[in-house]
Symmetry: C2
Subunit: 529 residues, 2 copies
């Protein structure tokens, strides 16, 4: 673990905090691009400015070395990284902090913590690194528990075994992305799962939330990279057999993948790896119309070429990212292989996008437009903090939709979002869109919104906007989340989207695996007490 301390209130390390001048500069720039005027400045909170209620738990002697009730630990485990998380953190409101944060170093520790929580009637929040933007780890569990305990998995961070023949590794769930790849590096193998939160999220978190990663096609979700996995539940350990494929009953892994800590705590997994890529090709393609760009993506996705990158960024978002002047929509294509040159692949993909009116802007092993976009992608969460400090609302929501419904879906969701921003805040906002992943049968649109909320009414105005946008996603046939997960924030729409009997099935499973309902109450399965 690094000596640098993570911000208890935001993205990344404390030394990555923007100065007031930096925040203002970012807000002024984005304000100019979005037509929104920054207002005021709220400095990020200092630990001394917040006060926490006395913890309602005391660690037993046997577990004391892995338990903390320090203000820093409790504050740092209160929120994820969503807009409403920032608003409350900036308001110095950490009233929902967990009573205690624990750092198991082994599976035995996890079991002991669950046993203790059971005896103490404490809710348990499994925690990776807190990058959730959907309230996935927020210790808001209703009144039915005597306390809340967060289990932070980051001390279980080892790559335990590497199998170079089958190309897989057994990896502890608490490892952060960079450390995972560093441990794999000597083997020449790589997981290549790079969600935007890569630096600040864990393998277990990725699996628990069905994280979306590097690959824009084919292996889009972490689901596909899980060979087998192991979880601790209040009823015991559940471990699947390591197999390349199986037809023996419903997949046990697929029941746990996406359970978001509500059924068990993932402790380790065998993950499928691949050779580090040695052949790469990348291209940026400009389109005059969004529709043609989408058709270009569809053509590539349906061609069976499986590019690692196949993303559409609309004109507004290209401009916001500093990768364009707003006059064109951009498609970024990339192929990579650790095995063979990919010229034939890229050549055909370029034909597909040209057929839809795309103009090849840059192509090569690496290209500057794609690089600019990647840079903007990684720095976005940092920059967002400056916007929020300066009174601008920045939020994102994402979904997926089949190609046949895309045009209406995109238009209607965008219009609904524009409309609610205006209604909620009294002024027009800014809505842009990109596609993060592409499938043969559809794509994953990702919307970014900017608005100017009324100071002091940010939470309520955000809630209005979030509600209307989410309603639109569900009404228009999409999913409430393609890879951000359900958490607490998406539960109403998740409830509307998933088959009712699936809800009952999951409730029945939870009653068996977690009979007292201790695990992440209110996520995936509604609180039962």
């Amino acid at each position: 673990m690094s000596d640098r301390r993570l911000k208890f209130w935001g993205w990344g390390h404390e030394d990555q905090t923007l100065s007031e001048a930096e925040a203002r500069a970012i807000a002024t720039r984005v304000g100019g691009l979005t037509g929104l005027a920054p207002e005021g400045y709220i400095a990020p909170p200092e630990l001394g400015e917040i006060s926490l209620a006395a913890p309602r738990l005391k660690a037993p002697e046997t577990l004391s070395s892995i338990c903390s009730t320090s203000d820093y630990d409790r504050a740092a485990h209160t929120y994820g990284k969503s807009y409403p998380d920032y608003i409350r953190a900036y308001a110095r409101d950490f009233s929902a902090a967990p009573d205690m944060v624990t750092f198991p170093e082994s599976e035995q520790d996890v079991t002991a913590l669950l046993d203790w929580a059971d005896g103490a009637d404490a809710a348990v929040i499994p925690f990776g690194c807190g990058s959730t933007v959907v309230g996935g780890i927020e210790p808001v569990v209703g009144d039915g528990f005597k306390a809340v305990l967060t289990i932070d998995m980051r001390r279980m961070a080892k790559v335990l075994e590497i199998d170079p023949v089958a190309r897989a590794a057994r990896i502890q769930a608490g490892v952060l992305g960079p450390n995972l790849e560093a441990q794999l590096k000597p083997s020449g193998l790589t997981l290549r799962h790079f969600p935007q939160s890569f630096e600040f999220s864990t393998l277990g978190g990725w699996i628990a939330t069905r994280s979306g990663g590097h690959f824009a096609t084919l292996y889009t979700h972490i689901d596909e990279l899980v060979e087998s996995m192991r979880s601790v539940t209040p009823s015991g350990v559940m471990e699947s057999r390591r197999l390349p494929g199986s037809g023996a009953g419903p997949s046990p892994d697929r029941l746990m993948i996406g359970s978001e800590g509500s059924l068990g705590i993932i402790t380790e997994a065998w993950m499928r790896l691949q050779q580090k890529p040695t052949f790469r090709a990348s291209a940026a393609v400009k389109f005059d119309s969004f529709e043609s760009a989408a058709e270009g993506i569809r053509a590539v996705a349906q061609a069976g070429l499986w590019p690692s990158n196949c993303r559409l960024v609309d004109a507004e978002e290209t401009k916001l990212a500093g990768a364009g002047d707003g006059s064109f929509h951009m498609v970024v294509l990339g192929f990579e292989s650790g095995d063979h040159p990919i010229d034939a692949w890229m050549a055909r993909a370029l034909e597909c996008v040209r057929d839809q009116g795309g103009r090849i802007d840059a192509a090569g092993e690496r290209d500057s437009v794609a690089d600019a976009w990647r840079e903007a992608f990684i720095s976005a969460p940092f920059k967002r903090e400056g916007l929020i400090s300066c009174g601008l609302m920045h939020d994102t929501f994402e979904t997926s939709i089949t190609w046949d419904r895309l045009a209406d879906f995109h238009a209607n969701v965008k219009a609904a979002t524009h409309e609610i921003i205006k209604r909620a805040t009294g002024a027009p906002g800014h809505v842009s869109c990109r596609f993060t992943h592409a499938y043969t049968d559809g794509c994953a649109p990702y919307f970014t919104l900017h608005a100017k909320p009324t100071p002091g009414r940010e939470m309520e105005q955000w809630k209005e906007i979030k509600t209307a946008a989410s309603d639109a996603l569900i009404r228009e046939g999409g999913t409430i989340t393609h890879h951000h997960a359900v958490g607490r924030d998406h539960m109403p729409w998740y409830g509307a989207q998933r088959p009712e009997l699936m809800g009952e099935a999951l409730q029945a499973v939870k009653a068996r695996l977690d009979p007292k309902g201790l695990l992440n109450p209110g996520v995936i399965v509604p609180v039962q007490r």
Copy 2:
């Protein structure tokens, strides 16, 4: 539906029954190749030779048009197509016949049948076309039910909608493979899921059993082709949303896929389609050693080329199939695309197999060795009937294993099977192996065994062999099934293989969706009454 009647006791149509001379010729040929002497001849049963107990159910007037208690229908829904199924059918033993067979024409019919079964306390066996080789539809449900009702889904056989943009179709579950493809054909799209049972199995059966199909890599199981699905359970209808991808909680589809009729009856599904291939390349590659051939498959599977065909057939099986003289192991490679030439793909795959010592025997758009193999593959179930008539045992079992364990696994499973055949029957048998599917992290070995059982003791000797071979699969780290499913025959090993808590989770789900345990009792979830 065709006017030709299906055999009530075996594979295919009545007019596809082998004559005694044909059966003897096949048995003599295979006997010669395997060192086993055919003995005697048992003719397939005639309907007049079997007697069935009086049915314990009488259809209500409202359902009478879709209900049958005819001897033919009841006999034709008694067995699947496994070796022990044939032995009992050849013994004219149809004592396990269901009391009634029903043929719903709509989802309302399915619901009405479930309601009626509930009132009558009858077990319900969902039935596609009965190609199971694992006892999946056998009406053996314990003593806790007053009767057994089979629901044959084949009258629900329409392609209801085709979406040419997202390339998907909404298809009723009871459609047989050829009819499905015929209905899709005018659109230029195809499902391209070709299990060996393609002609005699249904979409719903494929989904319920996690069928393995055409694609040797990438989209190996039907699971990947399901966009959304709809099932009727005793607690109501469960339908998932049509989406290209989602991260909203554990996948509802993945809970039903592989549930083998134990949780609900699949009535329809949106299936992902693709363009009919216009570019094809195929190659047969010979290897001197099985190990090198396996390494060749591994190299291709790990190269990220995703061939549609990538199969290893060992020397014994190549010989049995009439595609070789037993001096070489064969790897069949195939690429196909509806979008682009696949020369670069095939060129690299051939390099991979050459690097492992493979000799390119034939390559082209189609090739004769691959064709001979395909022909043998499709006709195998017909020919098997001749072997069994002439006193030879023929059975297959299949599994999957990661590459790192393949060599020991293959050697030990093969040795265990040889040993038990000798012990059970008193004489050596014949065991061959092919790989049906290949993954980056492993492959799916498929074993075929021939033996000479003692007349009159076939069932007991088969059971001994099946038990020892299955024990070996589980002991050596494989799965009890890669795509044949669990059924009744594999339940002990499925129980040993799946996580115990997954078993409890499925029991809990069944208790919620099928509270009286009517659906396919004893499959996936043990009988509870």
